[in-house]
C-alpha cells in the first residue's frame, strides 16, 4: 500500500489549499519499524510528512472525537465503519468531514514479524510497491516475507477492506476476501467447559498492567469519564487484583457490543500482548447471529442495542 502515499499527499494538499478542510488527519512514518504515527496537517506545505504503508494500525477515528473544524481523514474499511459509528452516535458531524477512503490490504502483525526473525533486532522494514512482500532488515540479516502470511489477525479475517463511506478514494477498490471464517477462534472458546473457559480468560488477562492502552486506542471509548475512572461511586478497584482486571476487560467489551468493527487497534496497542479482541469478537459474533448486524456499514441504521425491533430475538424470556 506504500504506493498510496503520493496520492494521499496530493489529495491532502488540494483539500487544504482549496479550503475544503482546515486540517487533515493521516499518518507519518514512524521512528521505529512497523510503527507509524498519527499526524494532523494544517499547512499544505507540510503534506509531505504524510505516509501510508501496511503499518498504519491505529484507528484514526479516535482523533475525530470532539473536533469542531472541517477535517479530512484517511479511512480504511474498518476505520470508515468507525467513522460511520461516530456519526450515528453524534461524535462527529458528517458535514464537516471529508473522508479519503483507503482500500486496504491489511496491516502487518508486527509481533508475528518479530517472532519470525526469532526476536532479533529489526532496524528497517521495507515494503514492496504492490505490497505483496516486505523485507525485514537487522544487524547481519535480511529476510523477505509474504505479507499475506503476516497479517494482523483481524485483517486476515476482514470482510470489509474497502471503505463503506467516503468522499474520494485514493485507489481502485481492492477485492474483498472470500470464504473467510471469521469466528473460528471464538467458536473454540464457546465450546469449552465453563471452567476451561474461565481459565482461558484468566490466563489471557494475567499479564495485564491496567495501562488502558486497549481502551484508549479504541474509537468507541470516548466517554468523558470511563467507568474505571469513576470515583463516586467507584465501580472497579484500581489494583491489579484479577477480579478488577477481569471486570475492566469484560465491561469494556460489553460497552463495545454492536459497535466494534474489529479494527484491531486494541490488540495492536497492548504492550503485553493480551488477545483483547477475543472479548469483543464474541459480541460481534452474537450481533451477527442475533441481529444480522455488523457495525458501521450504513449511516441509516442504528446499532441493535440502541433500537427496539419487534423481530428482535426474545428466546431468553421464558
Amino acid at each position: 500500500m506504500i504506493e498510496y502515499t503520493e496520492k494521499i499527499r496530493e489529495i491532502a494538499k488540494k483539500l487544504l489549499e482549496e479550503g475544503t478542510v482546515d486540517a487533515f488527519i493521516g499518518y507519518k512514518k514512524g521512528s521505529v519499524p512497523m510503527m507509524n504515527e498519527p499526524v494532523l496537517v494544517r499547512d499544505p506545505a507540510d503534506v509531505d510528512v504524510l505516509h501510508w504503508d501496511s503499518n498504519c494500525g491505529l484507528n484514526l477515528c479516535n482523533y475525530l472525537t470532539g473536533r469542531t473544524d472541517k477535517v479530512g481523514i484517511l479511512a480504511t474499511g474498518c476505520n470508515s465503519r468507525n467513522i460511520v459509528t461516530h456519526v450515528i452516535e453524534n461524535q462527529a458531524d458528517r458535514e464537516r468531514l471529508y473522508i479519503v477512503g483507503v482500500p486496504c490490504t491489511g496491516v502487518i502483525n508486527h509481533r508475528a514479524v518479530k517472532r519470525a526473525v526469532k526476536g532479533r533486532e529489526i532496524t528497517e522494514v521495507v515494503e514492496e510497491p504492490g505490497g505483496e512482500r516486505f523485507t525485514v532488515k537487522g544487524p547481519g540479516y535480511e529476510e523477505t516475507f509474504e505479507k499475506a502470511d503476516f497479517l494482523q489477525l483481524n485483517c486476515a479475517t476482514c470482510r470489509h477492506r474497502n471503505p463503506v463511506e467516503y468522499d474520494e478514494l485514493v485507489a481502485e477498490e481492492v477485492p474483498e476476501q472470500q470464504a473467510v471464517q471469521a469466528f473460528k477462534d471464538v467458536e473454540k472458546i464457546e465450546q469449552m467447559e465453563p471452567q476451561k473457559k474461565w481459565d482461558f480468560f484468566e490466563r489471557a488477562i494475567s499479564s495485564c498492567i491496567r495501562c488502558y492502552a486497549c481502551r484508549n486506542a479504541c474509537p468507541l471509548c470516548y466517554c468523558p469519564t470511563c467507568f474505571v475512572d469513576e470515583s463516586k461511586p467507584q465501580w472497579v478497584g484500581k489494583s491489579i487484583d484479577p477480579a478488577d482486571t477481569m471486570t475492566f476487560h469484560f465491561l469494556r467489551a460489553y460497552h463495545c457490543a454492536g459497535r466494534c468493527t474489529d479494527c484491531g487497534a486494541c490488540e495492536r496497542a497492548c504492550p503485553v500482548g493480551i488477545p483483547v479482541r477475543q472479548f469483543t469478537k464474541k459480541l460481534n459474533k452474537d450481533c451477527i447471529e442475533l441481529f444480522d448486524w455488523e457495525a458501521g456499514l450504513s449511516l441509516d441504521s442504528r446499532p441493535p442495542l440502541d433500537v427496539y425491533r419487534k423481530e428482535d430475538p426474545n428466546d431468553f424470556i421464558r
Binding site: I122, A213, G237, P271, V272
Partner: protein
Amino acid sequence: MSAKIFSKDEWAGVLEGLKDAYEVYVPVKEGDFHNFRPLKEGTRPSFEFQNTRMSPKFLTEPQSERMFEYTLDKNQPDAHILKEDEKEIPPRAVVGIRPCDAFAFQLVKRNFDTPRYKDPYWLKRYEATTFVGLGCNDPCETCFCASAGSGPFDRKGLDVLLYDLGDAYLAQPLTDKGEALLEKTDGGKEADEASWKKAQGLTRQVAGKGSRRVSTDKLREKDVNALYEAPFWEDVAFSCINCGTCTFLCPTCWCFDIQDEVQMLPMVGDRMRNWDSCMFPLFTLHGSGHNPRSSKTERVRQRFMHKLKYYVDKYDDGIQCVGCGRCVQFCPVNIDIREIAEKMNAL
C-alpha cells in the same frame, strides 16, 4: 574478593545455589517477551534477551501493595485503626538486570529517600536487594543509555557486573554487597587474565558500535517558562491516546496513588498503594471536580517537562530517564522521547 568466572553450563546451578541466601529474581521468557520473576521450582531463567518488557522497578515498588488494613465495624475494639501490613522482605538478588535499569533505581531513590522523608516500603526493599547486572553486548536500536548518564556496561547502582563472554559469565564485584553475594556462589573460578581481556574487548566493541546520541546538554540553561510555552506541544501530543504504557513500562516513573478499598459484610478495608500515571486525567483531578491538567496536551507536556526539565533543574544532575527505550518501542502511537528531547534542547 576478586572477580569470578562461571561457565554457562554451571550457571543454572549457581542461580539455584543462591536461593539458600536470597530470594532470586531472574529474567524469564513469557510468550514473546521476558520479565523478571522469582526463581522457584520449575522457573526457567532465560538470559537470551535485550531487555525485559516490564522494568524491574516493581522490585522496590510493586504495581499494587497493601499498606494498611482496618475494620469499620464499630463493635470491634480496633475499629477505624489503621494497622500496618507487616511485610517480610528477605534478602533478594536480581540477576541479569541491565545497567540502565539498575541506574534507574538511583534516580528514583532521590524521591523515596530524602533528608526529610524516607519511604519505608521502597527503602526496605531497596536495601534488601543485591543488584547483579548484565552488561549489554547487544543494545537495542531504541535505547540511548549513553546519552542518559548510563551505558551498556555502566556500573552505577550495581553490586556485581556480569560480562557475557559467550560460553561463560565474568562476574565482577563492585560493592560489599556484591562481594558477599559472590562469596555465597557455588562453583566458578577466579577470573584469569584472558577472561578480563575478553571482557574489555567486549566493552570496547560495544562502545565502538555507538548508541544513538540524544542531545540534552542545553536543557539546564533553558528558561522553564519558554519550554512550557513552546509551540510544539500540541503537535507532539496530537497522536497521544493518554494510555499508561510509557509510564508503566518506564523504570524511572515512580508516581503512585493511595486508595482505600472497602468491602461490606464484614466492613473491612485495605489501604492500597498503586502505580499511577500522569497520562491519566484522574491523576490530577481535584475533589472539587477541577482538573488543572484537563487536556491531553497538558498531560503530555507534563511527562516530558518532568523528566527533561523539572528534574534537571531540581537536582542539577541530568535527566530523569536512563535511555532504556521502552517507551519508544512500545508507545502504541510512536511518540518518541528522543525526538522530543531534541526539540526541547534545540528550542
